[in-house]
Every structure is written in structure tokens, then in C-alpha cells.
């Protein structure tokens, strides 16, 4: 049997039991590869449970810098007997199965087309450690040590990582390095190291991720930093996977950065609310009163917040909401990813409502779009929803570094100060369209002794905020809100459009975490002679560039991670292009991040079996015969 051979290009998966401390060892493995200058993308595939259930950690190593899931498994590190049967079955032919050989392998699990590497992890732990907890924890470190020999990980890099990880707890450094050495020695002694799949130092720069001095971080932390940089002072939230770490990280950075040096008091307030309804109510109250406030939640929380979202839309109160999407409906799969809140978010609440959505695809965008969201919310006086997902929010991604321009000033939108009010000759009208962009002026409570006070309400009102059930006043107001939504098109992030090398009438549209595997899929197809232009959507409402892309292509594959093709429907609903026939849904919704191979396969399948001759081939053929 031919063993797989590859340098800096493979998928390795760790099968662990959750709650056994495997996450930090696995994280160290991925970070070591990253520090060797090789593009890497790790992902936790974990259960909605605290201890005892199977959990996986998948690491993709890609010389070319592909960060999405590729599909397939070249090496399986099996530390969990519970899931061994399916883990063995998952290994690609020619791949490796690394297991705890303390007990002999069940013969029914032996395949002829893969390689088995047995390391007696439990035996080594029993021999070396007396404490039960240590035996459990160091088992993870030992297999990372073994992998360093098998895959050629720079041992010095691993040692540095241990030192970094235990900064402040120095006495833990030596035992961890010792455990790494135990694994390393065992593997070096018993196997021909390194194996066919191996690593070589790289330079962290690859075609696909461009020439950045990349960082490795999760999207939720990046979004939290965005909120800190944007000057958010109030956060209200309710715990829900996978968004919890947004506010956890916001709390962590505020404790460091927002303590008044003179008084030791906090220049921020965080409230864990009694539910998501209350969380958004607090955010709305704080924003109404002139502070920058936000919440983070996931689909079920968004459902509860939809009443308040309608109020914020209609009463025109800036609101920032970070939706870290997971698999729904209902409780769905709380620890699995999806992009299935798109339609709910776009139209959340009763009546005619539409909300501005932002779609980050990298941690750097989670940061910059969160900063931008606060400006947009105040400029437009409306909710801004940042559509992240579990894959981006909770996994570490290679990303361009976070950037911030010190000359940048917050856009607090149209807010009248006391002197503005004094200088005004006409009567202040809270809902009056003074500038013709649909965006009125507002005042903060307490601004002026006699001017600027108004009544905020979710019921119909006239331009001066007085209650009215006059139909024409209502219509005027609703039309102004629509006009405001039009104004939003000019200021939300534009889509990223890439033209293929050869001219094509095919296009692919995607957003958020679907982008990385989709770009890779496009390159796979390109090699097969199928050329596609691509558009990565970054915001709703859609601007003129989006409309143009739809108009200029004959077949457009809309790649997304939900069952109903929600972005496709939103495009049909919210653009003027009659595109029902030409928008082809490419969907994946099993809760795991979609792979490049699947996307390429679905597009290929449509083109080759859909009686559609690839246009590029036809053009080339025509040129050849001409």
C-alpha cells in the first residue's frame, strides 16, 4: 500500500473526549505549525456538553494558504475509544491512524488501506504519573510530542509555546516539556520519523491569503476588541453558545483598558441580563441615552429580540447586535455552525422592517466591521446586525493583523447639542427629513433645559414625535424609513468582486465563512476549465455593484450554509434583477463548515449534468476551430 506523501498539505483530526483538557494541547499543536510559517486552520467540532462526550479537532495544513475545510482526513489521532469505529472509517486511503496502543486494537477496526501507528499513551501515563488528573492531562501533551517527531514539528517552537502558555505559572513549564519529550522519544524510537506526510518550515505567505504578517485568532475576540475600539460602554447579554465568548472577551479587555486610573472605577458597564429580550432592551435604552451599547447572541436569542428590533427600527434607535450563528431551527445543533439566520435577521420583527446586515469573513473583518457597525448604527439610527457564525467566532483563523487608524474619529451621526438647538430657528422635529436622506436629527435626554425633548415610541407619530393615527403621516414616515435604507446602500461595505482570468458568464456568490472554501473550490474548477467570477457579499442592503454582478452573469452559484438558500432569496427579493432562473443554490447545512471539495463537486455536477456546456470551454473550442 502506498502511503500518502505530502509536505505542508494535509488534514489531521484529533478524536478526544470533551472535558479532558485536550483543547489546549491541540491548540498548541496548531499554533506550532503556524509559528513554523505554514498556513494552518484549526477547527473544534464539539458537542453541547461539558464532559464525557466525543469531540474532534480538525487541523488543515495548506501550503497554498487555503483556510476553509478541504474535506477528507489524512491523519486521525484517536484518543477516544467511544468514537474509534467511525474515526477509523473516516481516514482517507493511504492515510494514518494514530491510536493508544495500551490495549490491543480491535481486529474489526483494522483496514488494509491505511497505516496504523500505535503509541501506548495510557501506559506511559500510568508509568510516569501517580495523580489521576495529571494522567488525563499529560496524555494530550504526550501525543503532541509524538506528533512532533512523526510530522517534523520544530521542537524548539513547541518549547517556546509551552513557556508562553504557562507564563506566570512557571513551575508547569518543565513537566509539560517533559511530557512532550516522552512522546517525541517514543515516536522517534519506534517509527521511521518523519512519516510521508510532514512539515517543513515555510514563510506564512501563500497565494490565497496574500502577503500579510498574519495572526491567529478567533472572530469573537476580534469582534469584542472592535467594540472596545468603537467606544462601546454598555454591553448587555444572555449566555448562549456560540456567542458567549464575545462578551467574555469584551469584559477581559475592559478590565484591562477601561479602569479610570484616578478612581479605579469602571468606564463601562456589563450586565448579564435575565434573557435576550432584556439584553436588547438595555442596549436600546443605553443607545437612546447616547452611550454606545451592544449585545451578542445567536439564533434563538435573535428570535427573542425580534420585537425589540422592530422598536429600534421604527423608533430609530442605534443598536449593534452581533449574531454568531449556529444550526437551527429551535435549539437545533447549538455547537454546530450555519448561516441560517440571514432572512430572520434581514426582516426581524412584525410589520415592514428591514435591517442592515454586515458579513465578516475573517477575524480582521470581525474587528473592523464591529468598529464600523457603531458608526453605521449612529449614522443611520437603526439596528446593525453583524452576521458571524460559530466557525468564525469560536475557531482560530489566520487573519491579517488588526488595524486601527489613530486619526479616525467616531461618527456619532446627527445629534443636536444644546448650542445647535439654541441656534435653530425652526422647531425641532425628531422625525423630520431635513437633509433629504431619510435620516432625521436626534437629541440626547437632558441636553437642553427647554428644547429638544421628545417622546420616543413604537407607535405611529408625526414629524414632531407626536402620536398620530393619521394614515398619511404614517405613510410619510414609513417611506422615509425606506429612503433611509436606500441611503444605507451608499455607506455599507461594498462587495469584493474578483474576475476570472478568462472571460466568463458564470459567477459565484458567497459570504462570511463560506468564502474561504468557495475561493478554493473556484480554483479547483479553474484547473478543470470551469471559470467563474466571484462576488463576496459583505453587507445588506445590496448596493449597485451587487446588482451589476447579477445582471452581468448568466449562471450564478449562490454558495451558503443553510437549507433554504436564504441569501439567494434575499438577492431575489431585494435587487431589481430578475434572476430567479439564473441563481443556482449551492447549499450545505449539516452543521460542519462546508468544504472546498463539496462546493466544487456541487458546481461541477450542475455544469456537467445540467446540460450546460461550460462557457469557457465553448469559447476555447470556438477559438480553436476558428
Amino acid at each position: 500500500m502506498q502511503a500518502k506523501q505530502s509536505i505542508n498539505d494535509f488534514v489531521i483530526k484529533f478524536a478526544n473526549v470533551n472535558g479532558t483538557g485536550s483543547a489546549s494541547a491541540n491548540g498548541m499543536f496548531a499554533k506550532a505549525i503556524f509559528r513554523m510559517g505554514i498556513p494552518v486552520s484549526p477547527r473544534n467540532i464539539f458537542p453541547s456538553n461539558i464532559q464525557g462526550m466525543p469531540t474532534w479537532y480538525e487541523v488543515r495544513v495548506s501550503q497554498d494558504g487555503y483556510l476553509g475545510r478541504r474535506g477528507g482526513t489524512d491523519i486521525m489521532v484517536c484518543v477516544n475509544p467511544q468514537s474509534m469505529k467511525r474515526d477509523v472509517a473516516e481516514v482517507d486511503p493511504g492515510g494514518y491512524f494514530i491510536y493508544d496502543s495500551t490495549k490491543p486494537l480491535d481486529l474489526r477496526l483494522v483496514r488494509q488501506d491505511i497505516h496504523y501507528i500505535g503509541i501506548p499513551l495510557t501506559e506511559i501515563c500510568l508509568r510516569e504519573y501517580t495523580d489521576a488528573r495529571q494522567r488525563l492531562l499529560f496524555k494530550n501533551v504526550i501525543y503532541v510530542g509524538a506528533l512532533s517527531a512523526l510530522l517534523n514539528i520544530d521542537f524548539g517552537v513547541l518549547k517556546d509555546l509551552v513557556a508562553d502558555q504557562f507564563k506566570g505559572k512557571e513551575k508547569l513549564i518543565t513537566p509539560n516539556i517533559y511530557a512532550l519529550e516522552l512522546g517525541h522519544q517514543y515516536a522517534s524510537k519506534h517509527f521511521d520519523c518523519p512519516i510521508g506526510i510532514r512539515l517543513e518550515r515555510g514563510h506564512k505567505v501563500a497565494k490565497h491569503i496574500e502577503d500579510f504578517d498574519n495572526i491567529l485568532m478567533d472572530g469573537n475576540t476580534a469582534a469584542a476588541l472592535g467594540a472596545v475600539y468603537a467606544g462601546a460602554t454598555v454591553a448587555a447579554w444572555y449566555p448562549i453558545t456560540p456567542s458567549t465568548s464575545v462578551v467574555d472577551a469584551f469584559d477581559k479587555y475592559c478590565r484591562r483598558l477601561r479602569i479610570d486610573p484616578g478612581t479605579g472605577k469602571k468606564n463601562y458597564a456589563i450586565i448579564q441580563a435575565e434573557d435576550e429580550l432584556s439584553a436588547l432592551g438595555m442596549v436600546i435604552g443605553a443607545n437612546w441615552n447616547g452611550a454606545r451599547a451592544f449585545t451578542a447572541t445567536s439564533g434563538p436569542g435573535m428570535s427573542l429580540m425580534s420585537e425589540f428590533l422592530g422598536l429600534a427600527y421604527f423608533a430609530e434607535i442605534p443598536t449593534v447586535l452581533i449574531d454568531v450563528q449556529r444550526a437551527g431551527p429551535s435549539t437545533g445543533m447549538p455547537t454546530r455552525t450555519q448561516q441560517s439566520d440571514v432572512l430572520m435577521a434581514a426582516y426581524a420583527s412584525h410589520g415592514d422592517t428591514k435591517h442592515v446586515l454586515l458579513f465578516p469573513a475573517t477575524p480582521a473583518e470581525c474587528f473592523s466591521m464591529t468598529v464600523e457597525a457603531f458608526d453605521l448604527a449612529e449614522r443611520l439610527q437603526t439596528p446593525i446586525i453583524i452576521m458571524s457564525d460559530l466557525d468564525l467566532g469560536m475557531n482560530e483563523w489566520m487573519s491579517p493583523p488588526l488595524e486601527f487608524d489613530d486619526d479616525y474619529r467616531y461618527d456619532r451621526g446627527k445629534v443636536l447639542s444644546a448650542s445647535d438647538l439654541d441656534a435653530m430657528e425652526e422647531r425641532f422635529g425628531r422625525y423630520k427629513d431635513v437633509d433629504g436622506d431619510g435620516i432625521p436629527y436626534r437629541t440626547y435626554p437632558g441636553v437642553h433645559p427647554d428644547k429638544g425633548a421628545y417622546f420616543t415610541r413604537g407607535s405611529s407619530r408625526d414629524e414632531y414625535a407626536a402620536y398620530t393615527e393619521d394614515g398619511s403621516e404614517y405613510v410619510r414616515n414609513m417611506d422615509r424609513l425606506l429612503q433611509k435604507f436606500e441611503s444605507a446602500k451608499e455607506i455599507v461595505p461594498e462587495p469584493k468582486i474578483k474576475q476570472s482570468e478568462l472571460e466568463t458568464r458564470y459567477g459565484a456568490v458567497f459570504f462570511g465563512t463560506t468564502a474561504s472554501p468557495a475561493y478554493e473550490a473556484i480554483e479547483i474548477l479553474e484547473k478543470e476549465g470551469i471559470e467563474l467570477d466571484t462576488m463576496r457579499i459583505r453587507a445588506f442592503p445590496f448596493n449597485a455593484d451587487v446588482e451589476r454582478f447579477l445582471r452581468e452573469h448568466d449562471r450564478i452559484f449562490v454558495v451558503e450554509q443553510n437549507r433554504d438558500g436564504q441569501m439567494r432569496r434575499l438577492l431575489l427579493n431585494e435587487t431589481s434583477v430578475p434572476a430567479n432562473e439564473k441563481l443556482i443554490p449551492i447549499l450545505e447545512y449539516d452543521g460542519l463548515p462546508v468544504t472546498a471539495r463539496k462546493i466544487a463537486g456541487m458546481i461541477r455536477n450542475y455544469i456537467t449534468h445540467g446540460n450546460v456546456t461550460p462557457l469557457v470551454r465553448r469559447i476555447l473550442k470556438e477559438e480553436a476551430t476558428a
Partner: protein, 349 residues
Amino acid sequence: MTYVKPAFRHPDAPVNELGRTRAEYEGGLSTLCAGCGHDSISAAIIDACFELNIEPHKVAKLSGIGCSSKTPAYFLSGSHSFNSVHGRMPSVATGANLANRELTYIGISGDGDTASIGLGQFAHVVRRNLNMTYIVENNGCYGLTKGQDSATMDTGAKNKKGDINLYSPIDLARLAIEIGATFVGRSFSGDKQQLVPLIKAAISHRGFALLDVISPCVTFNNHGESTKSYEHVRKVNDAMPVDFVPMKEEITATYDSGTTFEVCMHDGSVVRLYKQDNDYDIEDRQAALEATSHYTQEGKILTGLLYIQRDSEELHDQLGTTRRALNSMDENELCPGSRFLDSINAGLR
């Protein structure tokens, strides 16, 4: 009933220390039914704010949904107001207060808004001891949807359709005392003598102040078999007269000291209570619960200041937030700048 609010103001109308007349504390014309108890409460709020010399623009009025929640339009037109969604005023008030602790927050709610759809938010705003005055205009029924029973309707009371309520009532004052409220009063919209000083004391209290004000619904719940009618409440009300003396005024003892009890508030002002029978220590949570329970069993309603904890930590104290209003800070104070970001990036390589 008139549909026009007279613009005429007497040139010699008395002014308060800010030089403002009482009229400057009024609001728009009420659209509630003639004789509605809620309008008396609005008038009491106007008196209280006028007499306390509060600048109207330094007040934020918040409400939920229902007849009661419409009333912020009928007082303090110089204040910003937020008529939010049903049962959710506490969360909006919490956010607003976090953003700017320097304003006075007055929340208006009803028994449906607080005891049914909003019971969760009510309980949690009590727990957090948010610095606000929370007035429940309690009429035992849903007025704006035409008279359905509410959760504060007494067991055995009859609604307008003639149905007898079989469910046990939620006593919001008792609930609030139980879960940690630091100021709880009960009053009657028909007793201005008691209500105005109670509102003044509630506004002066630092922390969460609940006023459960029985406010008869003249249209749907003011009949003979209602326990929230004017007639019934007048009959069973065992009122504890209350007086409020602001810090700056001299306390003149003109009452028989044997019947007077004084509570000094955190800012130095004094609430004076007059009560002879059933005396209990209103700073004793357990005693307050027992007293209110005792009156209920007797078929009476004890009104007045039921419980007070003078030195409590309000939400900002608990959170340790700065004395300044959070909404007054700009990027110079809030944004860490690019150098810190560089160090973050360096730690992620």
C-alpha cells in the same frame, strides 16, 4: 370633559426655587377616560417634581404598554420620554440609566405590564436595585383591551362581564419586598395627601423605589364587586399618612411624637410617617412582609411607605462604574489606540 388644554397661565402663579411654575411640569392633554385614577397619579407626579425643584429636562420618563404607559405624555413635557414595548420598560430603563446616571428616572407601568407580561423584567430590575422610581398604576384589569382580568385582581373579585376571578393575585409590593427592593410604598390614586409625599420620597431614594398605586379603572373595574373600585378601596384603605421633608427645610415637630416616625434618607431629607395602630419597623423586611400580609388577611389594604432600606448600593455602586455619565466619554477616553492593537497582534503570532 374638554379636548383643548388652556394655554392661559396666571401671571402670578407661584414658582418653585428654579423659578418654574407648576404649569411647566405639566404634559399634554390626557386621552384617558374621564375620572381615570391614572390622571390623578400624573397630577401627583407633577406636584412632586415641582415641589422637589427638579429640572424637567433632567428627568427621563419610561413606560411599557397599556393605559398607564400612555401617561408619560401627560406630565413633564420638558422631559425626554420612552414609551417602549409591553412589559419591557425595566430593561430600557436599565440601559438608559447605565448610559447616564445623572438623570432622574421615572418608570410608569400597569398591572398587566408589570405583573403579567413583564413580571420577569420587573423581578430583575428589583434585584439589581436600579436607581429609579417605578410606579405601577394598578387597576386590576386590562383597560386598553377592554377589561380582561389582570394578575393583580383579587381572588373572588368579579370583572365587568360577571366572571369571578379564581386565581390568586400577585401582590407586587410584597413580591418586591421579598426579592430585595429597597423602597416599597403602596398608595391610592384618590389619596393625594399621601401619594405626593410618597412620590417625592421615592424619587429621593437612591436605589429602586416601587410605588404600587391602586388606581381604579372607571370604565371596566369600578363596580360594586370589584376590589379595585374607588368605593371599595376607600372603605378598606388603612392609610398611613406620610410627609416628606426635603433636606433643606427645617423639621418642625408639630405632631404628637408618640404617633410619628421619621426616616432620614441618604441625602438628608426626611420621610415622616404617622401611624398609631399596628406599628412595625419599616426598615425590617420581615416585619413589613408580615404587616402587609396581616392586612390582606383582614381584607384591608395597608397604604403608605411599607419598607425602606436607606443605605443600599444601587446598580452603579454594585458594578463599580465611574461617577461620570458613560455617555459623556469620547474616543480619547475610550479607544486604546493602535499601539495597544500592535501588542495584541504581536501576542497572536
